[in-house]
């Protein structure tokens, strides 16, 4: 019996995914639940588990192939010798919607003369010599990436060496100075680059406001005795979520032909990780206490650091908070996390001298910047939203604690 492996939908906005790695080779036995491959979506890279058990018979989409959701990318079968559904295989492998990602398109151009390339055929057709395998391991290379530039049937050490030489040459060509390092734009970096480019094309405006957090910080210090994990970010998320549920015009996503408003605040947090920027979402933040928000935030950050965020944790954000205060940044203009409508930037806490009815006082203030998509929202409503957030942070309700 044969089982299709299709490109899964790993998020509501996902139309296609890029195969980043295969964890199994053709001929391997795969148990249901084994990690079969890694797929990169517009949000993150996911480890995809097998839904059936069987021998991995044919891989139709190699590494770096971009595959529409629902397309067959591999076949599992109960045995190694039973025929897999040839028609399906053929129609799938000839499917025009499979396209190599940008880098491998270049590889195709560079080596077109070599004929049938690995990405256009099953990797199972390639046999790897032990010597080549040792070399792959020594250089931390995957068969898939080398196979992209290989047209033969047996991958030998000399082929791996040729790959390494070519890679080095490319690096040398692109680097003009000694010490210059070339990093391929791929994986998460590619996602970030694409998303930022997309975001930069929309009309957006940033509003600034500083809010006093004297009261808040006093409470915060008391609260920290009991809940050590709570940070200023959690107060901000709580405040934003509280306002958002009253402001469906801001708690929304701009979907081109329509704007979708949400009743629940799913607040995304911009998190810096060794792999790049990620935005895990605290769902229904308005229903959580500060301590609950803190716990969820910590959990998400740990997952993000380990690159183990699931699609649920990355999807359905309605608003984003980006806090660079900890990095010593006074103030900045965040870019909207499309298709969300607005994003709040948080700068460094500062002490300012203010004139009060009784005279000058030193007060702790938090600089906030709200960037909004002017297609979905106008300046006035945006300003009132920011103002409401500021007020809530200046006088947080006692029952938050």
């Amino acid at each position: 019996m044969n089982y299709k492996v299709v490109m899964p939908a790993l998020g509501e906005t996902m139309d296609e995914g890029t195969i980043v790695a295969w964890h199994k080779r053709p001929g391997d036995w795969v148990d249901k639940g084994d990690v079969l491959m890694e797929v990169m979506t517009d949000k993150a890279t996911f480890e995809v588990e097998a839904k059936d058990s069987g021998y991995l018979r044919t891989i139709l989409a190699g590494v770096d192939n971009v595959v529409p959701v629902g397309e067959v990318i591999a076949w599992l079968a109960d045995t190694m010798d039973e025929p897999v559904d040839e028609e399906e295989v053929q129609s799938a492998s000839s499917h025009a919607s499979f396209r190599p990602s940008e880098e491998s398109s270049q590889a195709v151009l560079a080596s077109e003369s070599r004929g049938n390339l690995a990405d256009a055929r099953a990797l199972s057709a390639i046999r790897v010599s032990p010597r080549a395998r040792r070399l792959l391991n020594q250089h931390g290379l995957s068969l898939e990436e080398v196979a992209q530039q290989f047209s033969g049937d047996i991958l030998e050490a000399s082929d791996v060496e040729a790959f390494l030489r070519a890679r080095e040459e490319r690096a040398t060509e692109s680097g003009h100075n000694v010490g210059q390092q070339t990093i391929k734009v791929e994986g998460l970096r590619k996602i970030i680059a694409d998303r930022m480019t997309q975001a930069a094309q929309i009309p957006q405006v940033t509003l600034y406001a500083d809010t006093s957090v004297e009261t808040l910080m006093g409470r915060h210090r008391l609260l920290k005795v009991r809940y050590a994990e709570i940070t200023l970010s959690d107060w901000i998320v709580k405040a934003v979520a509280t306002i958002l549920v009253k402001r469906p015009d801001v708690n929304a996503r701009y979907e081109g032909t329509h704007i979708e408003s949400y009743q629940s605040a799913n607040v995304g947090l911009a998190v810096d990780t060794p792999h790049g920027l990620m935005v895990p979402v605290i769902h229904h933040a308005e229903t959580l206490t500060l301590a609950e928000i803190a716990r969820e935030r910590r959990r998400l950050i740990e997952l993000a650091q380990a690159r183990r965020l699931g699609s649920g944790e990355l999807s359905m954000g309605t608003f984003t908070v980006s806090n660079l205060g900890n990095y010593g940044i006074d103030r900045f203009d965040p870019i909207v996390n499309v298709p969300e409508v607005a994003i709040l930037g948080v700068g460094r806490l500062k002490s300012v001298v203010v004139l009060k009815p009784h005279g000058f006082l030193v007060e702790q203030q938090l600089p906030l910047s709200l960037t909004f998509d002017h297609r979905a929202l106008d300046g006035g409503p945006a300003a009132t939203f920011l103002n409401e957030v500021c007020r809530l942070l200046a006088e947080p309700p006692e029952d938050w604690v």
Partner: protein, 681 residues
Amino acid sequence: MATTSVTELGRVLSWYQQMWDIRVFEETVSDLLGQNLIRGASHLSAGQEAVAVGVMAALAPQDLITSTHRGHGHCYARGMVPSQQAAKDRQDHLNRMLAEVCGKETGYCRGRGGSMHIADVDGGNLGATGIVGGNLPIAVGAALASQLLGKGQVVVSFFGDGAVNEGVFHESLNLASIWRLPVVFVCENNLYAMSVPWSYASSVPNAADRAASYQMPGLIVDGMDVEAVYEAAKQAIDRARRGEGPSLIEAKTYRWYGHSRSDPRAYRSREEERQWKERDPIITLRTKLLDRGATVKDVDQCEQRAREALERATRFALYESPDPAPEDLLADLYAPSHNDGGLSESEARVKAQDPSCRQIAYWQAINEALAEEMTQDPTVILMGEDIGVYGGAYGATRGLLDRFGPDRVRDTPISEAAIAGAAVGAAMNGLRPVMEIMYVDFTPLAMDQLANQGAKNRYMFGGKTKVPMVVRTEGGAGRGIAAQHSQSLEALWTHFPGLYVVMPSTPFDAKGLLKAAIRDDNPVMFIEHKLLYGVKGPVPEGDYVIPLGVADVKREGTDVTVITYSRMVQKSLEAAERLQADDGISVEVVDLRTLKPLDRKAIRQSVEKTGRCVVVSEGYTTSGFAAEIMATVIEEAFFALDRPVVRVAAKDVPVPMAEPLERAAIPQVSDIVAAIRGVMT
């Protein structure tokens, strides 16, 4: 029949003691076997004590024996012969014997041999063998060494009635007779070869009758009468010591126990057993001793002393002796290598590379190696078929008879087993024989002697002996002499632990390796190639040796490794030339030279370099040595491989006579070229 003109009472009383010691020893072993405290097979000699004790009583201290699978009595009694040094301590002797039977480190063979291979080489016992008749030619060889080296030893070879029907019996008696060797053949005829009665198995009534064929005395003696045995043995031993040649003694005897512990003795009647037991050699001798004035106390304390000694021996063997350590498993399998001078290979190679170096043929290189070794070591002798006047079937020994005389260059009858066994025995007793088997196709005729005795004796006997001998033979196809004169049977010989196998491909290698083989203290199978004898190459004059176990890169290359040996080196080099010229493929040719010990490092280094490997051998494909090389490549260099290892070997077919068929049967240059191209594309 011999008469009893005896000998003072005390001496006979000591024989009586020895017979009791043997009897109780066998009873003890039987008892321990029954309790499963001894594993394996033990063949008990109770009933036959008078033969062992009577014969040994006639030995001089320097004399030697060879024994059989039923050898406890021989071992014990040989140990009781007064030696030139201090007499062996009886208790210690019994301890070490029983410890061996129990497989203990303190045993005579450190537990490697056990009952069937008990030996005490230093004590004049060249060992027991588990092969019926296996030790007959070894005794002949030991006697040859005694004769040539003037050692004055007589060698007594014990065997049973079963051995008399082995071919090697006839070969051995004949060889001993024509060479007038100081050897006494003692047949312990206990009437059954395991279960088959002598009366059924033999065409003549007595084993001694067979002596007539070999023109030696054939004495029949009552094996239940120790004095009669002594008298007969003394006659034969004295005759041998006088240089009058061998004798055959047949001692009619009977074993009390079955062949082994699993023998229900269904082939003989209880009545027959009872009749023989009435003639128990111990009871018979007891009566005689009492008649001659020994006291009952003197006589009876012999049994008592035997029982006490065996109790102590049992305690020693079972409870005071360590088991051999598994980490010592391989210890003493091979005698250590040593270098006895001469130029090193690299020094000789420098000379050979000088354009002025003389060119001589392969046969001459071998001839020269033999002559040089015979000159510098008087213990080196040659023996084989047609090696004397004829100069060897392929001329390798021509001229040596004239130079070294018939004592040291010995033509032999066509008796491959006896030649080989004699070489083993001679090697164990001080010579360095270089024996020749005309064709490697004939080596199976000597297989027991080489594989079961020569290869294993050192190990089975706990490292207490060495077998420094060389078997020169030649193999290979190409002369149209068909299936029984064209084989490459090296795989047979690499299979047995204890043997080295050398197969040189050039005159230079042949000389240096043969000299190393002769100097080595292990048995070496030295296989030449019939089509190489005429091949010339540079060989420096004088003494140089090439160490065993070191391969030689005959041609350096970078693309593919060819691992080969013997004549296939030449063919592989031709293939390499052709591929370089036609395809630009750079082939490295590794000549193993020695198949055992195998130079695994050279294999690894070359395959690590090239990543491709073709193995070429003239031996049959199935279970051939090429398969061993392939396995070694996988073990040593799997991760260096870019392609599967490929072999080019002889087809699994008897080598045919007709030329087109012969060429098709064995690897040709074109086959090697095709195989190399196969792994390059």
